[in-house]
């Protein structure tokens, strides 16, 4: 019977699961909302894995994310910083095995990973596959996915629509750093009849600036900058980050699974 390496990343908004085979190929991805209880979510994941016939008993399971301690059936728990580093290195690093997701062959061994999560933003420096430094903002929702979520709700837009609109806007700014105050700023902009494109632009611009301010603390020009997390699906976000940092920012469609991939890889160690 074959053995699987399963990584479970329970984040604040969504739970990501990755199954790797013995050759480190991704053979399954499961995405679920975290909901109220990470314990319940982990049980749903277990059920799904069993339904999909991944022999859980014979697999190595590693949990990560802020809900990592709630995954009672995991063999071990590793912090999301380490896992994101490992996962991003898998996706963007030079030792990437060919697994279909590896569409460019950059040979960079010096990665700077930007992960904009639901509740925090992580900046992780990875050298030769290992984390060497990191920063984390989790004190305040400005500069996190939560900020975008609140603002797109205020504009009644989905994330992709917000990005789409933002790409057509310009010249408007939100000054407040606090999500609560920024929301009222957005509402007054709407009230003043500002174009929705410009408001969308201002919203994304605000988070990009905030995130880049943090990234600048670790960024050096010899680094390959990669965006992971849910927002890596939106080209407008990685492009805007790149513009602000004056370098290319790489993103991949499996970016949101970086933490789960890293966790699964930790099972090999």
């Amino acid at each position: 019977m074959s053995k699987f390496y399963i990584g479970i990343d329970i984040g604040s908004t969504s739970a990501k699961t990755i199954v790797l085979d013995e050759n480190k190929n991704i053979i399954e991805r499961i995405l679920l909302p975290t909901g109220w209880s990470s314990k319940e979510t982990s049980e749903i994941i277990l059920k799904k894995l069993n339904e999909l016939n991944f022999n859980v008993g014979n697999s190595t399971i590693v949990a990560t994310g802020y809900g990592r301690v709630s995954v009672s059936f995991a063999n071990k728990a590793v912090t999301e910083i380490t896992c994101h580093g490992k996962g991003a290195n898998y996706l963007f690093g030079s030792n990437t095995p060919s697994v279909g997701v590896n569409d460019d062959k950059a040979i960079d061994n010096n990665l700077l990973i930007i992960d904009i999560g639901g509740q925090d933003t992580k900046i992780i420096q990875v050298e030769n596959g290992s984390v060497v430094d990191f920063l984390m903002n989790d004190k305040c929702s400005a500069g996190t996915g939560r900020f975008l979520e609140v603002m797109s709700n205020a504009l009644n837009l989905k994330m992709d629509e917000l990005c789409d609109m933002a790409s057509k806007g310009s010249d408007t700014h939100i000054s407040s750093l606090c999500t609560v105050f920024a929301e009222s700023e957005v509402i007054s902009l709407i009230g003043r009849g500002e174009k929705r494109e410009n408001i969308a632009f201002a919203i994304v611009d605000s988070i990009i600036k905030k995130v880049c301010q943090q990234a600048q603390r670790l960024y050096k020009p010899n680094m390959k900058v990669c965006l992971t997390g849910g927002l890596s699906e939106f080209k407008y976000i990685s492009d805007s980050l790149g513009k602000e940092l004056k370098t290319e920012v790489y993103a991949k469609k499996d970016g949101r699974y970086a933490g789960a991939i890293g966790a699964a890889l930790m099972g090999f160690i």
Partner: protein
Amino acid sequence: MADRHEMWKSLGMNIEQHDVLCSVLPGAVGDVFMSQKNRPKGMEFWDMVVADVHGIRPAELIEEQKKGRKVFGTFCVYVPDEVIIACNGIVTGLCGGSQFWVPDGEAVLPKNTCPLIKASVGARLGKTCPFFRIADMYVGETTCDGKKKAYEILGEDVPMYVMDVPQMKRPEDIERWAHEIALFAKKVEEFTGVKLTVENLKKAIHIINEKRKAMQRVYDTRKNKTLPISGRDSLLMTQISFFDDPERCATMCNKLADELEERVKNNVSVVDAGTKRILVTGTPLAIPNWKLHNIIETTGAAVVCEEMCTGTRYFENLVDENINSLEEGFKALANRYMKTNCACFTPNTGRIDDIKRMVKEYNVDGVIDCNLKFCCLYDTEKFSVGRALKEANIPVLQLETDYTDTDAEQLRTRIGAFVEMLNK
């Protein structure tokens, strides 16, 4: 344990509130200390003191007061204990290290004041700490702005003397500090009714030096690959040394050091071989603030040194005992105290040199630089500390926290990731 309620009542404390504090402390002590494996036997003394922290020592102080001795409460390691001891006074530390006192402090202070100041003011005004009630005089100092202004508020409630600490360390500043110590001595003489002489000052310098040497001996054992004592236990020893009688403190620390040296010889370690060794630096960890050490040591690493005022800054450097006049005594004191490297000074590159030296001395794998929230001085200094350590290839994690438990999980993630990084 003796019932202390009569004593607390006679001190005019808020008994009801204080009972709340007393009811949570044993649990915290149990979680942080008693759960540790293979502790040195010598820790029994500190376990006993902390179990009755508002009883044993306060009762002693009150007895001494009955004999006419005066108790001075201090807030900073710059205040020279020697002068007070020489005049037959007693020194007790007064810094508050618990969230319990913060709301009472916030009643009069801005929210964005560091928790150490809020807790200290709250402990006095809320009448929930016997040490703050017992002290006959508070001795403040012009270090950070928050403390300066807090002393004005405390001064309305209790006799308060403030020492003017220089902000720089030029020769003329050191001279000025010697002069400031002389002024303080006059005040202490007046308050205690005991004249300061070369003899009693010399003796006091010796007593405090012996205490410093004893504490250093304990810390020296932590430099070994075989770690004979946990960071939590060392921190408790240091925290309580601010309250204890200095001669007994030296005796107990020496006894503990004897045991620890024996442990090192016999290869008795409190952690598994290969456990990563952490130096903690930053703002002081006033009792009962054990949060950071507890998280680090339950996340797979060990704290082997504190470059803090509740750590090496308290006992490194001795005062020259070879003095022939009071004037020489004040100079000797000034010379020693001005070697303490606090972020209140500018420049403060000596602190970076200290950290780098201690990383070598204590065989450190990584540094955690942590300041209390709203401590602008140490927060700002993080930039130069972080840069210098990175340049020296010393891994560093920089954190900010307060006395609440709300960020415990976030700290655990950061510290966990840091330890994983060191373990790679």
